[in-house]
């Protein structure tokens, strides 16, 4: 790991050289009143004044819908064509928040539990993350409560901390980061001794993970789930904006004799998610589904995958149509 300084102008040149390298660059863009990651060509397209993109960067390594393989039926025989990792282009994610970059770890933990997930891993290999540390936060942010911080470098290949002069501290964290630097090495100047912490938003932790985990270990039969979930309407907004939610469905897309098997996003909050063909539904009620969501992230994942399933990005709270505020709910569980 190496720390450098990059000036505002240098940053612009470097950005251009990344574009020129032929890699696809996705960055937050403000359009239709929302900021979200979009394919960009110019730095000027990148949004400035916002707290958080509506959606996380999850889709870059776990697309909303992705072809697992294709097949063709031919008089009772079937020919398969496997997913080809080579079809995935080199991608750079620009201006990622640390809480988003941190989401790659839990996501990969899920996908690679025991058996490796070829598709997810192929995306990971081709994706480089240039994160920007956070100088701002809002009331939904709580990364510091879930092992993160506004300057957390986990998951990032390079992290930039923007300085008052428009330049930035550049932490080059991984070989992929180094490769990006190598596109235009001269703009990376020697570091000037800027203190990164000074430029980060101050976000005190709101609860202790250990405390939450301990409480949750005994909370399966608690009434809290019913109380908290009463107003939940059972949509998938929280899951779909979440950087770590990985529940998926496998579906078939058929056109005559040709077909493809598709993996697409699903959500544990949907009423029919666990419905058996027999009509029995182990998670019949919204309270059970809410419990699953919370326990999965804050209890099962830490226990089984050694990683918390939440990065504190606060997106679910912002996206929820009925103000199911995860910070409020977790805090109240911790305090119980």
């Amino acid at each position: 790991m190496e720390t450098k300084y990059i000036s505002q102008g240098g940053m612009a040149q470097w950005f251009e050289s990344i574009i020129a390298s032929g890699k696809r660059v996705y960055a937050p863009v403000n359009s239709r009143g929302q900021v979200d990651f979009k394919l960009v060509k110019n730095l000027s397209e990148v949004a400035d004044d916002y707290i958080q993109t509506t959606q996380s960067i999850k889709a870059s390594v776990y697309p909303k819908a992705e072809v697992l393989f294709t097949y063709e039926k031919d008089h009772g025989k079937v020919n398969l064509s496997d997913f080809d990792p080579e079809t995935i282009p080199e991608t750079v994610l620009w201006k990622v928040h640390p809480c988003d970059a941190a989401g790659f770890k839990p996501l990969s933990a899920i996908f690679n539990w025991d058996s490796a997930d070829k598709l997810h891993n192929a995306h990971l290999v081709k994706t480089s993350v240039i994160s920007f540390s956070c100088a701002k936060a809002d009331q939904s942010c709580f990364c510091t409560s879930v092992n993160g911080s506004p300057g957390n470098t986990a998951g990032s290949d390079i992290q930039l901390t923007v300085l008052p002069d428009g330049g930035a501290i550049a932490e080059i964290l991984t070989p992929k980061g180094e490769a990006l630097v190598a596109l235009l090495p001269p703009v990376f100047e020697a570091e000037r001794g800027d203190k990164k912490e000074q430029y980060l938003v101050d976000l005190p932790a709101r609860f202790s993970l250990e405390e939450v985990n301990a409480k949750l270990n005994k909370a399966f039969n608690s009434t809290v789930w019913k109380e908290q979930s009463e107003r939940c309407i059972g949509c998938g907004a929280c899951a779909f904006v979440c950087p770590t939610c990985a529940c998926f469905d496998i579906q078939e897309d058929v056109h005559g004799s040709k077909g493809r098997r598709i993996r697409c996003w699903d959500a544990c909050g949907f009423a029919l998610f666990t419905l058996h063909t027999s009509g029995h539904n182990p998670r019949e009620h919204q309270s059970q589904r809410w419990r699953q969501r919370i326990l999965h992230k804050f209890s099962y994942m830490p226990d089984r995958l050694s990683v918390v399933g939440c990065t504190g990005c606060g997106r679910c709270s912002r996206a929820c149509p009925v103000d199911m505020n995860i910070l409020e709910h977790i805090t109240s569980i911790a305090k119980q």
């Binding site: 107003r231 309407i233 469905d249 579906q251 103000d323």
Partner: protein
């Protein structure tokens, strides 16, 4: 507000109802509140910021249980409740409806007719946002509309917040979950997203009360409520119904007139 809180507290204390669905202050704006005892009635609020259509909860059996319950209903919720009555989803014995009228007076309704009469005083008008976007769309050529909506549809990731927020989407198995045949592909793609929204709009003909809950719920900001609203605006005069004031039986698509328009039929 005090009158409302007192009345709710009394209703719960007397055991007249076992639950009152209302609003409390939320982290960003008022949010739904479920009062099961008189203490929690102190959190109740009721003002113009109370936007959620609480009628979405009244069909959830696990929530409302078997006993009588009450809901504090702004006008949009009242309209949806009427429609739910028409669709045999509510019984007058089970539901008490509370609202605060324009003079700040607490009103209580038990019957369909009472609500219907009250609702009739209110006109359904486009708000500023609706006016702005709809007039933009109305000014577009067909090709531009296609481009506009495909752009919007490409953002939809099928979280179905629109469906979940809509009081009239109470089916236990939605058509998108039907897989024999798989009418609408379950993964998000611009066409299947559009198919879903067209389907929803068709299912809402004569039923939608333009409460805007679907559009408000959409996390990616697609103005989906305007699809059903525009349909309602265009079709209500043609089919001869007053939006939000349903007839007690049937709806616009379950009935017809001998002289319905047919110039488009060759």
């Amino acid at each position: 507000m005090k009158k409302l809180r007192d009345r709710v507290a009394a209703l719960l204390d007397e055991g007249a109802v076992s639950l009152v669905i209302g609003y409390e202050e939320g982290t960003k704006r008022p949010r739904p509140l479920f009062c099961r005892n008189s203490e929690s009635s102190g959190k109740l609020i009721f003002d113009s910021r109370c936007f959620h259509n609480l009628a979405v909860y009244v069909t959830k059996k696990e929530l409302v249980g078997k006993e009588r319950f009450a809901v504090t209903a702004p006008i949009s919720t009242l309209r949806s409740i009427l429609q739910l009555y028409v669709e045999n989803q509510l019984s007058e014995e089970k539901l008490l409806v509370l609202t605060v009228d324009l003079n700040g007076e607490l009103r209580e309704f038990v019957t369909f007719e009472e609500i219907s009469a009250y609702v009739a005083q209110f006109e359904m008008k486009r708000g500023e946002r609706e006016q702005e976007i709809l007039s933009k769309i109305e000014g577009m050529t067909r090709e531009e509309r296609w481009k506009f909506w495909m752009g919007e549809m490409s953002h939809c990731f099928k979280c179905y917040a629109c469906r979940s927020a809509c009081p009239l989407c109470y089916c236990t198995k939605c058509v998108v979950e039907v897989n024999r045949p798989q009418w609408i592909n379950p993964w998000p793609s611009p066409i299947s997203n559009m198919e879903w929204h067209v389907n929803r709009a068709m299912h809402m003909v004569g039923r939608c009360t333009a409460c805007g809950a679907c559009g408000d719920a959409c996390p990616v900001g697609i103005p989906i409520d305007l699809i059903t609203r525009k349909m309602m605006e265009d079709l209500a005069p043609e089919f001869g119904y007053i939006p939000g004031q349903p007839a007690k039986q049937g709806n616009a698509l379950s009935s017809w007139k001998l002289d319905d328009r047919e110039q488009f039929i060759r």
